[in-house]
């Protein structure tokens, strides 16, 4: 047997507060929440749902960001400790100053009566801490977005939003956080140099390489390995389905995959790029896509999950594929040293079946930049504003010149077993005047494109009607010259 091109893994190391933690003999699917509560004795972080829905387990995960530290809110319940190498974890226990005085976020929560039963409170505190430490004040909408992944059943949210608005002006001690940050950054940068880290127990492994070549080699070596990016879906395999995963190979440490390459015609988004970063980059080019990302999962989910992972996992209801397909995005798959590039739509073969071979991983997704004369619109339709699986997600990419539709790419999620284009509707648009009769004809043709199912989120009939009406909305908005970009964007008057 040829010798493995990758070295033996070193222990996974991270900082818990300012204390270094090293783990080697641990269950590869040990979650941060279990570790915090059972091993570290930090009971302030709560388990409310164990699947990243409620946010009671929110912690701040810090990484060096240039010459400073950047903390992001994440759900500890579906975050494997193996993914923490080179990162710092701050929990609600870390926020008070050494003299016990409260952090401004905590003080603002107390002063605004933002805690009732208190069980969700540590999670809210940590989401707000991440926002506070972002260094840039945001308004009510930004606060709401930062807290979309935290459920509260008592307060009705108002007092928590008020606390968030007040926290930047609330006295309290934050200097101890700043003071430890420099030491933390130094320690984390030293950890980052480790070539391969991992956990192992009972023949099961968690492996986190540092380079893409190592990643490719490890996957060749372990064709049965689960490729883990953010773990916001794989985490549920463990916490909900209680599945045992033999080998996990994590993309999160691979710096070259964590980049967004800003090319002349396209963005190339690497496998380890978080949804939150992809959302910013794509949203800057396509505001509607940004608006869908805004309501996509929650801040915690977007801070952990990746764009490539969202596509690679093949869900029929993921919200990025319709937009990517409509834009004509392509994905690069790599196996060993072999790469191939396919359109995103070709990746989805059938329900639960994707065009990915064993040992192959999604290396990047290439998103074309806007072209003159093209119109892009995208809508997510769900009952709950945030954190809700779409009943229908529709994306529309149209080239209109001289009043005529020259090209059309229309794609939907929630309408079939995979995210798919509405080819008949597209055909009914192309070559015809961009007019209501054309759009009505395309809406009628769309009935032949899809045979959606009825489930608890929506009936088949509603899906058909709403999908068609989205196209009409695209037309009416374009005619009226700009309307609300979100179908659910009905803010208080």
């Amino acid at each position: 047997m040829p010798e493995s091109p990758v070295p033996a893994p070193a222990p996974v190391r991270f900082l818990l507060g300012s204390a270094p933690v090293a783990l080697a003999d641990a269950d590869p699917t040990l979650t941060l929440l279990e570790y915090l509560r059972e091993t570290a004795g930090r009971k302030g972080t709560k388990e409310g749902c164990a699947e990243g829905d409620c946010g009671a387990c929110t912690v701040a995960v810090g990484e060096p960001d240039g010459d400073r530290m950047r903390w992001r809110a994440m759900n500890a319940c579906i975050l494997f400790v193996g993914a923490l190498h080179g990162r710092q974890v701050l929990t609600v226990e870390d926020l008070p100053a050494p003299d016990g005085s409260l952090h401004p976020v905590q003080q603002a929560m107390v002063e605004n009566h933002a805690s009732q039963c208190g069980f969700c409170t540590p999670g809210f505190v940590m989401s707000l801490f991440a926002l506070y430490r972002q260094g840039r004040r945001v308004g009510r909408r930004g606060i709401g977005d930062a807290l979309a992944g935290n459920l509260c059943r008592c307060t009705g949210y108002g007092p928590i939003l008020a606390a968030a608005e007040a926290m930047w002006e609330t006295p309290g001690r934050d200097d101890h956080i700043a003071r430890q940050a420099e030491a933390a950054r130094t320690a984390l940068e030293e950890m980052a140099a480790e070539p391969l880290v991992g956990l192992a127990r009972d023949g099961r492994r968690f492996l986190a390489p540092r380079t893409a070549d190592q990643l490719a080699a490890l996957l060749l070596e372990h064709p049965d390995a689960v490729v883990l990016s953010g773990g916001t879906d794989v985490g549920l395999w463990v916490t909900k389905q209680l599945r045992q995963l033999p080998t996990i190979v994590h993309t999160g440490r691979v710096a070259e995959l964590a980049r967004i390459e800003d090319g002349p015609d396209a963005l190339i988004i690497g496998a380890a790029v978080r949804l939150s970063e992809a959302a910013t980059a794509i949203g800057a080019l396509y505001p509607d896509f940004g608006e869908v990302f805004r309501r996509y999962g929650s801040a915690q989910v977007r801070n952990a999950g990746t764009l490539c992972g969202n596509v690679a996992n093949g869900s029929p209801i993921g919200d990025s594929p319709p937009g990517l397909i409509a834009l004509g995005a392509e994905m690069t798959l790599r196996r060993g040293d072999t790469r191939r590039r396919i359109p995103v739509e070709a990746f989805f073969i059938d329900y639960g079946k994707q065009d990915r071979q064993p040992s192959e991983f999604v290396e990047s997704i290439t998103v074309p930049k806007p072209r003159p004369g093209w119109l892009f619109r995208m809508f997510k339709l769900s009952k709950r504003f945030d954190q809700d699986i779409s009943a229908v997600c529709g994306a529309f990419h149209l080239e209109v010149a001289d009043g005529t539709v020259r090209s059309a790419r229309v794609a939907y999620g929630g309408m079939a077993a995979t995210p798919r284009r509405a080819l008949r509707a597209e055909a009914a648009l192309v070559g015809r005047p961009w007019s209501e009769p054309t759009v009505r004809a395309a809406m009628a043709a769309m009935a032949e494109d899809f045979a959606p199912i009825t489930d608890m989120r929506a009936s088949a009939w509603y899906r058909q009607e709403a999908a068609a009406n989205l196209l009409l909305k695209v037309y009416l908005d374009s005619r009226d010259g700009g309307a609300p970009s979100s179908v659910l964007d009905c803010e208080a008057a």
């Binding site: 709560k46 699947e51 039963c117 208190g118």
Partner: protein
């Protein structure tokens, strides 16, 4: 320095503990060598257990013991109010509902117990089952009594009024099964030592749980202590005598080691009850000027073969409006599911929306302003009985609510308000909440340093009890709240009733007030002429500490006194995209009359939380049943949608304050559930105003508006 007495906006006293993670909930208790238990739930809704193979589970690492019906100790029958509906677990081979515990795996760690629980193999002799509510409507049966009282109400001749009416309106409302979903899943920690049982549980009723444990285990109550530490929300879910609580107690008694059992989110859907679905019809007979001549409210509620819970949706219909004839009837369809139970704003919270939607339909039929219709039928005395209302300020609620909302500017016609491409609608509804009061006891003590300790067995479920009790004592003794400590949630403390029915402020608050006043009397008798003299009084008595007891009990014959209710007027505005009609709540104004307000901050929080409860009811919350498998379909927080912050528009809450001396010595009435009543109807009526489509189902399905 202020004392922080009644009526002051005292900050929540448990705030610092909660924002630092220091507040300890059941799952946070230090372990001290405890074992961990995991319930194995039945996967079939009905039948008999053919066999349970525990061999693989027993051989799994860390497993200490596995209890099944074959080896579990026999338990006594539990007959405690609202606990009767959960049968003692592991007593026979019968499966009565999906999720019923069929085994308990006890292991050294929680992970080992969970892992081994997967290895327990259960086979069933399955039996035909019925879990489809609508399919069972034709076998709905009348329900005569409710907590021992007649449930249905009638006066006058409704049929004649209906036949003779100048205007008739009939509307229906289907409501869905809903689960409480407190953010903290329930847990219990039980230890058995020296013949005594100590139980720490996330329960809203320590005394009732002790009673249930005593009955089940055949123990003297004196040998059982139950504590409820911080509680991560309850909303009615966190009852007593629930299967997992009895199982943990059983296991610790069998094994002699402490046992912890924490439910998973999914298990929460079948370990405690839920608000059952209803199918309701309301008929209104009226004269052309809007004067009601008859009101009929028919309720069919989903029930279970296990237990007798009935969602008494029509219970608070009678006091709503003056009408010469009324008929409220309840029927129930028993299903092969676990028993439903009370959930925040039960009964009227489920039924008043049906009546208030009908009132909106009547106003529309008459081309009358919906608020004017309510005022036309305003009840000056309790309809049916003629009893006076105690301190009813509902008219003021309507007026203030309308003013704050800007109701007078509302155009009457549906689909007449627009904002860009969006349809905008405005609706309103009435809220009414019966005053429940229960016996309670308390003790207040003071020491020579002027430190006051307040004790009562009741619980802080997040409503703010631990903040308002010191305020009540501060008012009576003149001692500032920051000189006080508080003991609650413990059967070792003076006994109270469970926390529910918006009863606690009136009941426990009054007991605490009585204890504080008794202490003041004692101090005065010993020469204290105000707080400055307290230390001297203790000196004169030669004691370091002086305590006094207080108690509260509702008067014997409540029917002889005035009718006691809290009230509210709720106004809502929604926006709907006509082509993709997902309704969104823009703003809500709720104005309430709940007697004297002890703390405006905690009171407002309660109402705001209740309003969001109603937003969930109207737009999002539904526990879907898979009738083929006889189980709830989405036992998680991604399938069961509770509102997120973006689903909540601007909420404006105000109170029309004033004493209600009949409701409680404090002058306060219940508020906890008031906010959750009426709001769903206000939203539904706003949706009608926006779209012209009458809402017939909660949660509202966007497709019905298309």
């Amino acid at each position: 320095m202020t004392t922080g007495g009644i009526g002051m906006a005292v900050a929540r006293r448990d705030g610092p503990a909660k924002v630092t993670g220091a507040a300890r909930y059941v799952a946070d208790t230090p372990l001290r060598g405890a074992l961990h238990a995991v319930v194995v739930p039945a996967t079939r809704p009905k039948g008999r257990i053919a066999a349970i193979d525990t061999a693989a589970a027993a051989a799994a690492p860390g497993v200490v013991h596995i209890l099944t019906h074959a080896n579990a100790p026999r338990l006594g029958r539990v007959s405690v109010v609202l606990a009767e509906d959960s049968l003692p677990p592991l007593q026979d081979d019968r499966v009565r509902y999906e999720g019923q515990p069929v085994a308990l795996v006890v292991a050294e760690s929680a992970g080992q117990a969970a892992e081994a629980a997967r290895l327990v193999r259960v086979s069933y002799h399955e039996e035909p089952f019925a879990t489809d509510f609508d399919a069972g409507l034709d076998r709905a049966e009348p329900v005569a009594t409710f907590f021992g009282q007649p449930l249905d109400t009638a006066w006058g001749d409704f049929d004649a009024a209906w036949a003779a009416a100048e205007v008739r309106v009939e509307t229906s409302l289907a409501t869905s099964d809903r689960h409480h979903n407190p953010i903290e899943p329930m847990g219990v920690f039980a230890s058995w030592a020296d013949g005594a049982l100590l139980v720490e549980a996330s329960t809203q009723g320590v005394s009732e749980l002790r009673e249930a444990l005593a009955q089940a285990l055949g123990l003297d109550e004196a040998r059982i202590r139950v504590r409820s530490p911080f509680l991560g929300g309850g909303f009615g879910a966190k009852g007593w005598g629930l299967p997992h609580q009895l199982l943990a107690a059983m296991a610790t008694r069998v094994l002699g080691r402490p046992v912890r059992l924490v439910l998973s989110r999914a298990q929460s859907y079948t370990e405690h009850g839920y608000q059952p679905a209803t199918r309701q019809t309301v008929r209104l007979a009226a004269r052309a000027d809007g004067t009601l001549t008859g009101l009929a409210h028919d309720v069919v509620a989903a029930g279970a073969f296990v237990g007798d819970y009935i969602e008494a949706a029509g219970w608070d219909t009678a006091p709503l409006y003056a009408t010469p004839s009324l008929r409220v009837r309840h029927r129930r369809v028993r299903l092969d599911r676990l028993s439903p139970s009370a959930m925040r704003s039960p009964f009227g919270g489920v039924g008043i929306p049906a009546v208030e939607i009908a009132m909106d339909a009547l106003a529309h039929a008459l081309d009358m302003d919906p608020l004017a219709l309510r005022l036309r039928n305003y009840a000056e005395v309790e309809p049916g009985t003629g009893r006076p209302f105690s301190a009813r300020r509902l008219r003021e609620c309507y007026e203030e609510g309308a003013r704050r909302f800007g109701w007078a500017d509302r155009p009457r016609a549906p689909r007449s308000l627009r904002d860009g491409g969006l349809l905008v609608g405005q609706g309103m509804a009435t809220a009414i909440l019966r005053a429940f009061r229960f016996p309670a006891a308390a003790r207040v003590a003071i020491d020579r340093n002027g430190h006051v300790h307040v004790e009562t067995g009741s619980h802080d479920v997040g409503q703010g009890l631990s903040t308002i009790l010191p305020q009540i004592v501060a008012d009576a003794l003149g001692v500032p709240v920051d000189r006080m400590s508080l003991g609650i949630g413990d059967t070792a403390l003076p006994r109270t009733t469970f926390t529910g029915g918006s009863s606690t402020t009136m009941s426990v608050g009054s007991a605490v007030q009585a204890a504080a006043r008794a202490l003041r009397e004692k101090l005065a008798d010993a020469g204290a002429n105000g707080p400055e003299g307290y230390a001297g009084a203790l000196g004169a008595l030669s004691v370091d500490r002086l305590a006094a007891d207080g108690a509260y009990a509702p008067e014997g014959d409540e029917a002889a006194g005035p009718a006691l209710f809290s009230y509210g007027a709720v106004f809502a505005e929604v926006a709907v995209d006509p082509d993709l009609p997902v309704p969104r709540v823009r703003r809500v104004v709720g104005v309430y009359d709940a007697g004297r307000i002890l703390n405006p901050v905690t009171a407002r929080s309660q109402m705001t939380g209740g309003i969001v409860w109603g937003i969930g009811q109207a737009l999002l919350e539904r526990s879907e049943t898979d009738s083929r498998l006889g189980r709830f379909l989405s036992k998680n927080l991604s399938g069961y949608l509770v509102p997120v912050n973006a689903d909540v528009g601007e909420i404006d809450v105000a109170f029309i304050e004033g004493d209600d001396p009949h409701a409680s010595p404090l002058g306060a009435r219940g508020i906890g559930e008031l906010g959750g009543i009426g709001i769903a109807a206000a939203i539904a009526n706003a949706v009608f105003h926006a779209t012209g489509v009458r809402v017939r189902e909660f949660p509202i399905r966007p497709e019905h508006l298309l």
